[in-house]
C-alpha cells in the first residue's frame, strides 16, 4: 500500500503547488517539498528491509485482459533510484525556491516537477512493463513541459520539442520491444520476466526486442547516436537540468538496462551494442564537453559521457562491471547534481554561463567555489572523492575486456575517455574558479548565494567526500543491495575502497590525470583547431530532419489533399469501380442469367431512343444550363413513363411530381447562377472523365443486366404481397410497405425532407450578412426582362387550378392505401398548386394570404407521424404498429379507417411544409438580387378594377 502511495504522492501532491502558490512562494515550495519529503520518508521506512534483501510488492488489477496491472515492487535497484529521485528531488525543490525569479510562475514549475517526479518513481517501482511504459512516456511528457518552462526562450521551446521527439520516439520503440518481451514470456510482470532469461535469449525475437528496448534506453539516456538532444535541453532552468539531466531522467535508460540486465545481458549482441554505444558515448561526450563554453553545456556533455561510462559497464555483462556501474550511478548523481546546482549559482550570481568570461570566482564566492571544485574533482576522478573509486573500477573492468578479439581497444578508449574527463573537469576548476578574473564586466557582481541555494549542493558535496573516504560504510549496503538486484544472483567479490594497490587501472588513471592536465594546457590551441573542424551540428541536423519531414509531409499531404473536388470524386468513382470489379472477379463461377426476357415493344424502343438522345445531348450541351435542365426534365419524363410501363404506377407519380418541384428549384437557382458553364476542361481532363464515366456506366449497366437476366427465387416481398390486404389493410402493396411494413423508413424519409428544408432556411437566413449580402446588393440583372411580372391570363388560370388541384391532392391522398397515390404525392400536388399561386400572383400577394407557417407544418408533420407510432408504443405495441377498421356509416356506406393514414397525414404535412419552406425561402434570395419590391396586387393591372389601385408595393420585411 505505502508503495503505491510513494508513487501516487507526487501525482496527488501536484495539485498542491498550483493551489498554494496563492499563499506565496514559500508556502508553495514548502508544500511541494513536504510531498516529496513524505514520499521519501515512506521510502526510507522500507529501506532497511530492502537492504536486508526483502522485496516489497503490491498489486492492483487494472486491465487484466491486456496484462496491464498496477503492480509495484521495491528491491535494491528500485530503492537506489527512488532514493535518488526523491532525495535529489527534495534538494532541487529547495534550490529552485531560491533559483526561480519573481517573474517565473513557481506554482507551475512545481506542478511539472512533481508530475515528473511521480513518473520517475513510477518507472523505478513498476513491476509491470506496460505500467513502466506508461511512466516512461510520462517522463517524456513532463520533461517536455519542464524544458519548455521558459516558454519565451526559443531555445527552451526547441529543446523541449527535440527532447520530446527523441525520447518519445525511443519510448515508442520500447513499447514494441516490451510487447515482444511480454509475448516471449507470456507475462508483462517484471518479476516473471526476470525469471525467464533463457527463454528470452533463446527466442528468435530476442534481437528485435533487445534493439527496440535499447532504442528506448539510449534515447532517454542520451547515448550515442542519440546524445544530441541533451545539451539543448539545458535551455531549461538549472534546477531542471540538475534534476532531469543529471540525476534522474537520463538515468531512466540506465535504470532500465540495469533492470533488464539479468535477462537481456550476457549475449554478444548485448555486449556489442551496449558496450560499444557506451564506450563511444563516453569518449565522444567527454571530447565535446572540453570545448563547450556554456557551463551547462559542458556539464551536459560530461553527463552524456558519464552515462556512456555506466552504459559501457552494463554492456560488459559481467557482474563486477555491473557493480561498478551501480556505484558510479550513485557517485555521478551526487557530484553531478551538485555541479549543476553550482552552475546554476554561477549563472544566477553572474548573469552568464560563458566559461570564457569567468576566472577567479572562488575569491568572490568561496562557498560555491569549494563545492564546485570538490565535485568537479570527483568528476575528474581525483583521489579521494567518490568519483575516483568508481572510475578505478571502470578502468579495471575495461582492462580485461576484449572487443572483436582485440584487447587494447577498450582499455585505450576508456583511458582516453577518462583523460578527456579530467580535461573538462579541470577546465571547470581552473577556468572558472581559479586564476585571474577574465571579465570585469560581468552582468552582476557575484557573491555567495543565500543559504537555501548553496545548502543542497553542499549536502551533496559532503556525500561526495564521505563516500570517497568511507565507501563501504556509506554506500556499501546500498551498492550491495542494488547490485544484487541488478545481477539477480550472487554478488561477485568486490571491495569499495580508495586504494586497490598498483593496478593497471591506477596506471590508466594516472595517465588520464596527467594527459588531461596537459590537454587543458593546450586548450586554446585545440580550441582553434576544433573550431575549424566542421563537426556535424546535431541541432541543425535535427531541425533540418524535422523540417524535411514537415516539408515532405506537406508535399504529400498538400498535393494529395489539394482541395480539388473533381479529383476526390474521380478517385472515389474509380475506387468504387475497382472494388466492384475486384469483387466480381474474385468470385469464380459467375453464371449468366437464364431468365426469360421481355419483348421490346415499339413505344419502349422509342422511349429508349429518346432517353439516349437526351442524355447524350445533356452531356454535350451542358454548357447551356437552361437547355440541360430541359433535357434532364425529359429524362425524368421518360423515366416516369418507364415506371408506368414496368408496373410501377406509384413510382411514376412520385417521379413526375418530384420532377416538377425540382425544375422549379433549379430554375430558381439558375436565375442566380451563371447561365452558361465555361468551357474550361482540358482535352486530357475530358478524356479522363470520359473513360471513368464509361467505365462507371458499363459497370452499373453490366451489373443490372446480370441481375435482370436471372431469377430471384425467394424474396421477403412475397410476404408483403400476401399480407398487405389481410394484415395491413391496403391493396396498394407499395403504399402498405411504405406506411406499415417499412413505415420506419418513411418516418426517416420525411425527416430527411424536413431537415433539408430547415437547412435551406438556415442557409438562406445568413445570406443577409457578409459577402453574399454585398453581392446581392450590387446585383446587376444580366438578362432582358419582360415588363409584366404577373401575366393576367396565368393569374386567372391558376386561380381556377388551385381548388382543382387541392381536390386532386385530397383524392390522391385518400386512395393511397389501396391505389397508386399517398401522402407524399398528395403533398407534392398541393405544394405545386400553392407554388403556382406564388408564380402567378407573386410572392407578396400570395404570402399575405397564406395562413399556415411552413416551419410549423414540418414540425407538425413529423409529430403527426410520430404520434401514430407513439400511440401504439404507449399501448404496449411496437412503435408504428398500425390498425385499421372498416366503418359503416348510413348513406355513405362502408369505408376503411387505418391508423396508417395518420402516418400518411404526417408525411403529407411534412412534404408540403418542407417544399413550401424551401421554395419560399429560396425565392427570397431572388428578390434580393432583383431589387424588386414584393407585390401587394396579384396582377400588374386588373382591368376590372374601376379605380386606380391604391396599394403601393410593400417592402418586404
Amino acid at each position: 500500500m505505502s508503495l503505491t502511495l510513494i508513487v501516487l504522492l507526487p501525482f496527488i501532491g501536484a495539485v498542491l503547488p498550483a493551489i498554494m502558490i496563492r499563499a506565496g512562494r514559500n508556502a508553495c515550495a514548502t508544500a511541494t517539498g513536504s510531498v516529496t519529503l513524505l514520499a521519501l520518508i515512506l521510502l526510507m521506512a522500507k529501506a532497511p528491509a530492502v537492504i536486508a534483501g526483502e522485496v516489497f510488492q503490491v498489486s492492483y488489477s487494472w486491465l487484466p485482459e491486456l496484462g496491464l496491472n498496477v503492480t509495484f515492487f521495491l528491491d535494491g535497484l528500485g530503492l537506489l533510484f527512488a532514493t535518488l529521485i526523491l532525495g535529489i528531488g527534495l534538494l532541487i525543490i529547495i534550490y529552485a525556491r531560491f533559483y526561480l525569479s519573481k517573474d517565473d510562475p513557481m506554482g507551475r514549475f512545481y506542478v511539472f516537477l512533481l508530475l515528473f517526479q511521480g513518473a520517475m518513481v513510477g518507472i523505478v517501482l513498476s513491476d509491470n512493463i506496460l505500467l513502466l511504459l506508461i511512466f516512461w512516456e510520462l517522463t517524456s511528457l513532463s520533461s517536455f513541459l519542464l524544458i519548455g518552462y521558459w516558454k519565451h526562450l526559443p531555445a527552451g521551446r526547441q529543446g523541449a520539442r527535440m527532447a520530446l521527439a527523441v525520447t518519445g520516439a525511443g519510448g515508442l520503440a520500447m513499447i514494441a520491444g516490451m510487447l515482444i518481451l511480454g509475448d516471449i514470456v507470456g507475462s508483462y510482470d517484471l518479476t516473471v520476466i526476470l525469471q525467464n532469461a533463457d527463454l528470452i535469449q533463446a527466442s528468435p525475437m530476442y534481437l528485435p526486442a533487445l534493439i527496440l528496448i535499447l532504442l528506448g534506453c539510449f534515447t532517454k539516456s542520451a547515448q550515442f547516436p542519440f546524445h544530441f538532444w541533451l545539451p539543448h535541453a539545458m535551455a531549461a532552468p538549472t534546477p531542471v537540468s540538475a534534476y532531469l539531466h543529471s540525476a534522474t531522467m537520463v538515468k531512466a535508460g540506465i535504470f532500465l538496462m540495469a533492470r533488464m540486465w539479468p535477462v537481456l545481458s550476457g549475449t554478444p549482441e548485448w555486449f556489442y551494442i551496449v558496450a560499444t554505444a557506451g564506450l563511444v558515448t563516453m569518449v565522444l561526450g567527454a571530447w565535446i564537453a572540453i570545448f563547450k563554453h556554456d557551463l551547462k553545456g559542458l556539464l551536459a556533455f560530461s553527463t552524456v559521457s558519464h552515462l556512456g561510462l555506466v552504459t559501457m559497464l552494463l554492456g560488459f555483462g559481467t557482474p563486477m562491471a555491473a557493480v561498478a556501474g551501480v556505484f558510479h550511478i550513485i557517485n555521478h548523481a551526487t557530484f553531478k547534481a551538485a555541479l549543476f546546482m553550482t552552475a546554476g549559482i554561477i549563472d544566477h550570481e553572474t548573469g552568464t554561463r560563458d566559461i570564457r568570461r569567468f576566472g577567479g570566482l572562488l575569491n568572490l564566492m568561496p562557498i560555491a567555489g569549494t563545492i564546485g571544485i570538490i565535485t568537479a574533482a570527483s568528476m575528474a576522478g581525483v583521489i579521494p572523492f567518490n568519483g575516483f573509486i568508481s572510475k578505478e573500477m571502470m578502468l579495471e573492468e575495461a582492462w580485461h575486456t576484449m572487443w572483436l578479439d582485440q584487447n587494447w581497444v577498450v582499455p585505450l578508449l576508456a583511458t582516453v575517455g577518462a583523460l578527456f574527463s579530467v580535461a573538462y573537469s579541470f577546465r571547470f576548476i581552473f577556468h572558472v574558479w581559479l586564476g585571474k578574473p577574465r571579465d570585469e564586466n560581468l552582468p552582476h557582481h557575484p557573491h555567495d548565494p543565500p543559504f537555501g541555494m548553496w545548502a543542497p549542493p553542499a549536502l551533496l558535496t559532503v556525500l561526495v567526500v564521505l563516500i570517497g573516504l568511507f565507501p563501504s560504510v556509506i554506500a556499501g549496503p546500498l551498492v550491495a543491495a542494488t547490485a544484487g538486484a541488478v545481477i539477480g544472483g550472487e554478488l561477485p567479490e568486490y571491495y569499495l575502497s580508495l586504494w586497490h594497490g598498483l593496478t593497471p587501472a591506477l596506471g590508466m588513471s594516472v595517465i588520464a590525470l596527467i594527459g588531461g592536465s596537459l590537454l587543458l594546457m593546450r586548450h586554446g590551441g585545440l580550441m582553434s583547431v576544433t573550431a575549424n573542424l566542421s563537426r556535424p551540428d546535431a541541432k541543425a541536423m535535427f531541425d533540418c530532419g524535422i523540417a524535411k519531414a514537415v516539408a515532405l509531409s506537406r508535399l504529400v499531404s498538400d498535393n494529395l489533399h489539394n482541395g480539388s473536388l473533381q479529383r476526390y470524386l474521380a478517385i472515389m468513382v474509380i475506387g468504387s469501380i475497382g472494388i466492384g470489379l475486384s469483387g466480381f472477379y474474385a468470385q469464380p463461377d459467375f453464371q449468366s442469367g437464364s431468365r426469360e426476357l421481355l419483348e421490346v415493344s415499339p413505344p419502349a424502343a422509342i422511349g429508349w431512343l429518346l432517353l439516349v438522345v437526351t442524355c447524350v445531348a445533356a452531356v454535350f450541351m451542358h454548357h447551356n444550363r437552361l437547355l440541360t435542365l430541359l433535357l434532364v426534365g425529359v429524362v425524368g419524363l421518360i423515366v416516369s413513363l418507364g415506371f408506368i410501363y414496368l408496373s410501377a404506377p406509384d413510382l411514376a407519380l412520385t417521379q413526375i411530381s418530384v420532377e416538377v418541384v425540382t425544375v422549379i428549384l433549379m430554375l430558381l437557382a439558375l436565375n442566380i447562377l451563371p447561365k452558361e458553364t465555361p468551357k474550361e476542361s482540358t482535352p486530357g481532363r475530358k478524356m479522363r472523365d470520359g473513360i471513368v464515366s464509361i467505365a462507371a456506366g458499363l459497370g452499373v449497366g453490366g451489373a443490372i443486366w446480370a441481375i435482370m437476366t436471372r431469377d430471384l427465387t425467394n424474396s421477403i416481398s412475397s410476404y408483403h404481397l400476401a399480407n398487405s390486404k389481410v394484415e395491413g389493410g391496403g391493396t396498394n402493396v407499395v403504399n402498405v410497405i411504405l406506411v406499415d411494413f417499412r413505415g420506419f423508413d418513411t418516418f426517416g424519409e420525411i425527416i430527411v425532407l424536413g431537415i433539408a428544408a430547415l437547412s435551406i432556411f438556415a442557409l438562406i437566413e445568413t445570406v443577409t450578412q457578409g459577402e453574399a449580402a454585398k453581392r446581392l446588393a450590387n446585383w446587376v440583372v444580366d438578362h432582358r426582362r419582360s415588363a409584366d411580372r404577373h401575366p393576367m391570363m396565368m393569374v386567372v388560370a391558376t386561380r381556377v387550378m388551385l381548388p382543382l388541384s387541392l381536390m386532386v391532392g385530397v383524392y390522391i391522398f385518400l386512395r393511397g392505401h389501396n391505389e397508386p397515390g399517398g401522402g407524399f404525392i398528395a403533398g407534392l400536388v398541393v405544394s405545386v398548386a400553392l407554388v403556382m399561386q406564388y408564380m402567378a400572383s407573386g410572392f407578396g400577394w400570395t404570402q399575405n394570404r397564406m395562413k399556415v407557417n411552413y416551419h410549423g407544418m414540418i414540425g407538425l408533420g413529423v409529430i403527426a407521424a410520430a404520434i401514430t407510432g407513439v400511440s401504439a408504443w404507449v399501448a404496449g405495441l411496437p412503435f408504428l404498429t398500425s390498425g385499421f377498421v372498416h366503418v359503416h356509416l348510413p348513406i355513405v356506406g362502408e369505408f376503411e379507417l387505418a391508423s396508417a393514414m395518420g402516418f400518411d397525414l404526417g408525411v403529407f404535412l411534412t412534404v408540403v411544409g418542407a417544399v413550401m419552406l424551401a421554395l419560399a425561402k429560396l425565392s427570397q434570395v431572388e428578390r434580393m438580387a432583383e431589387h424588386v419590391d414584393i407585390n401587394a396586387e396579384p396582377m400588374d393591372h386588373d382591368p376590372s378594377a374601376t379605380a386606380a389601385p391604391a396599394a403601393s408595393p410593400e417592402k418586404e420585411a
Binding site: 446587376v780 440583372v781 432582358r784 426582362r785 419582360s786 415588363a787 409584366d788 411580372r789 401575366p791 393576367m792 391570363m793 396565368m794 388560370a797 381556377v800 387550378m801 382543382l804 432583383e930 431589387h931 424588386v932 407585390n935 401587394a936 396586387e937 400588374d940 393591372h941 389601385p949 396599394a951 403601393s952 408595393p953
Partner: protein, 134 residues
C-alpha cells in the same frame, strides 16, 4: 364488344394518333416559333381529346360502367394549353421580336404587356435593366 363501338373506338384512336402526329409534325415543319405554336396547341389537344374519348368508350364497354375521369384530363389540358401557348409566345417575343417593328400597335394607351410596363404606380422593371446596362 359491338362492332360499331369497336369501330368508333378504333377510329377515335386513329384520329387521335394522327392529330398528335400532325401537331408534332407541324412543330418541325413550320419555320418560326409563332406559326409552330399553332400546331401542337391545337392538334395535340384534339388528338389527346379523341384518345380520351376512345378510352372512356372503351372502359364503358369493357368494364360495363361509364368512366368519366378522362374528362378531367381533358379539362386540365383545355384549361392550361392557352396559358402555355401565351407564355411561350411571350417568352419568344421578349427575346426575338422587336415590338416597334414586328408587332402591330395595341391601339390602346398601353403597349403589349410583354414589353410595355404598367402596374401599380407605373412600376417598370425593364427600366431598371436599361439603366444598369448603360
Amino acid at each position: 364488344m359491338p362492332f360499331v363501338i369497336e369501330l368508333i373506338i378504333s377510329l377515335l384512336i386513329v384520329i387521335g394518333g394522327a392529330f398528335l402526329l400532325i401537331g408534332s409534325f407541324g412543330m418541325i415543319k413550320l419555320r418560326d416559333l409563332l406559326p409552330r405554336l399553332h400546331a401542337p396547341t391545337k392538334a395535340s389537344t384534339v388528338g389527346l381529346g379523341s384518345l380520351l374519348i376512345a378510352s372512356m368508350l372503351f372502359f364503358w364497354v369493357e368494364r360495363g360502367h361509364f368512366t368519366i375521369h378522362e374528362l378531367l384530363i381533358t379539362l386540365f389540358i383545355f384549361l392550361t394549353a392557352p396559358i402555355t401557348a401565351n407564355l411561350i409566345a411571350k417568352a419568344y417575343m421578349l427575346l426575338n421580336v422587336d415590338p416597334n417593328k414586328d408587332l402591330p400597335p395595341s391601339k390602346q394607351d398601353e403597349g403589349w404587356a410583354t414589353f410595355d410596363p404598367i402596374g401599380p404606380e407605373g412600376y417598370d422593371p425593364s427600366e431598371e435593366y436599361q439603366e444598369k446596362e448603360t
